[in-house]
């Protein structure tokens, strides 16, 4: 539930001690007034959300933490532009989305894909869904590797839609805010992204080992 704070409410919030029960808007209001501790509360609260999103979007996995740091630095520097009409999470994910896109343009996608394939080849050792049957394990990991490869090969706008909806399980309303479109537009974007993912996944699944 969104909370639009009036001037009086902000004044009251400024007097309250910082706690985890404070809403994002209250913390943002105090951070705007120069209370850095309030911003730290926001950072700790939303760090994982932003990191998971950036981790899926980053062309290189080791760049994810750098991008997250950059996201929050920009958020702090642009707190004056934040308006209470939008949720803080969608606002900061929008920053993360733009930064991830910029980073992806700068990087070499082929090199990133090769590295991710190498990383994917090792994840089966620590997979939580390992089956007793090694053959099934191999099929599972090959399928997951193919899915990851297909997602990485998507165009940035399709990739964002799949990551936000299918990996992050975000609501269409929030996705619409990040994209800056309507809810219907967000649904259409996700649908088109899934079609593109399917077109890329089919040939990869045919190459994957099958029993």
């Amino acid at each position: 539930m969104r909370l639009n704070l009036s001037h009086a409410e902000r004044s009251v919030a400024a007097l309250k001690p910082l706690s985890d029960r404070m809403t994002d808007e209250e913390l943002v209001s105090r951070a705007k007034d120069g209370d850095y501790e309030a911003f730290e509360f926001l950072f700790e609260r939303h760090r994982t959300l932003v990191y998971r999103f950036v981790y899926q979007m980053a062309p290189r996995r080791d760049d994810a933490e750098d991008i997250v740091q950059e996201v929050f630095v920009r958020a702090f520097q642009n707190l004056h532009r934040y308006r209470d009409e939008a949720k803080f999470t969608t606002w900061i994910l929008r920053i993360a989305s733009n930064l991830s896109t910029d980073r992806a343009r700068m990087s070499h996608r082929r090199h990133a894909l090769e590295q991710q394939e190498a990383a994917g080849a090792l994840t089966w050792m620590t997979s939580e869904t390992s089956h007793e049957d090694p053959i099934k394990n191999l099929e599972s990991e090959a399928r997951i590797a193919a899915l990851r490869k297909a997602i990485e090969a998507l165009p940035e706008h399709h990739k964002k839609a799949v990551v936000m909806r299918d990996l992050q399980e975000m609501e269409y309303a929030d996705i619409a805010e990040v994209f800056g479109c309507t809810v219907g537009g967000a649904k259409l974007r996700v649908l088109r992204a899934r079609r593109a993912l399917r077109d890329r996944l089919e040939p990869l699944l045919e190459e994957a080992p099958q029993t």
Binding site: E40, R47, R52, A64, E65, R74, R143, L167, R195
Partner: protein, 270 residues
């Protein structure tokens, strides 16, 4: 399969279909093996999405975040500034190198002071060919033909007195003209240094002794005696230098020629 059917199966597999859409998808799966494979693929994909969503824990600490925010520095800004200023600095350095290493134009030194400048006249050539200058003299001529030399008077040596009339040089190749030179006794006594101040022009004449003559028309007849035997040297080194002095001959007003010496250290012209 139609795209519409595929969209329906995706929606149903992802749990986004309403009741009516779910029923339609179920009927489609039961009626078509291809639709059944499609639905199974999307169901498996949804399960794989949950595995992919599991990511390592973020290691970004509060301290590191605080330092980044307070410093206000962002790696990309530093990199972009670096990328902007480095090429500019490189160009500036290259320009400085070009300026310092550029070869300076050297002007060849102007020869004049103290350097011998041989000036060869047609008379020299005639002399070199064995022609005797004394034969040029026409003792019967009452006129004094003076060499016409057209030179400008350099300001540095310009006399305070009005400059003498310019002397035209009318030497022509192979022209045998009688050249009579009036020699003044006073000019003969002048030193070479004083004579250099009165240089208005010079001409290398055949090696002749310019003896002083009486300031009359007969002075023209008193031609130089044949030059004394020159030391064994190149014929070009026997060339003498005649200077037209400021003083005019009493007889005809022509400038008096004085031989400075047999060397070529004369500034020619202005």
């Amino acid at each position: 399969m139609k795209r519409k059917d595929i969209d329906l199966l995706i929606k149903s597999a992802m749990g986004e279909a309403d009741s009516q859409e779910s029923s339609q998808a179920q009927a489609l799966v039961e009626s078509s093996p291809e639709a059944a494979r499609e639905a199974a693929m999307w169901a498996q994909m949804k399960a794989d999405f949950k595995i992919l969503a599991d990511v390592p824990e973020c290691q970004l600490s509060n301290e590191r975040m605080r330092a980044a925010v307070l410093s206000g520095s962002i790696k990309q800004r530093r990199a972009s500034a670096f990328r902007f200023w480095m090429p500019a600095a490189g160009l500036a350095t290259a320009a400085l190198f070009a300026v310092f290493l550029m070869p300076k134009n050297t002007v060849p030194p102007v020869s004049g002071s103290g350097d011998a400048v041989a000036i060869t006249t047609p008379e020299d050539r005639m002399r070199n060919e064995g022609f005797d200058a004394t034969t040029l003299i026409d003792p019967r001529s009452s006129e004094l033909s003076v060499p016409t030399i057209e030179e400008s008077t350099p300001e540095s040596v310009a006399p305070s007195e009005p400059a003498p009339a310019p002397v035209k040089r009318t030497t022509r190749p192979r022209q045998r003209t009688a050249q009579r030179v009036a020699v003044n006794d006073a000019a003969k006594q002048q030193t070479a240094a004083e004579a250099a101040e009165m240089i208005v022009g010079s001409v290398v004449v055949p090696a002749m002794n310019m003896a002083a003559t009486a300031p009359d028309t007969n002075a023209a007849r008193a031609m130089m005696s044949p030059a004394p035997p020159a030391p064994a040297s190149d014929s070009s080194s026997e060339e003498g230098v005649v200077i037209l002095s400021r003083e005019s001959s009493v007889g005809n007003g022509a400038p008096v020629a004085v031989e400075v010496g047999r060397r070529h250290d004369v500034v020619f012209g202005g």
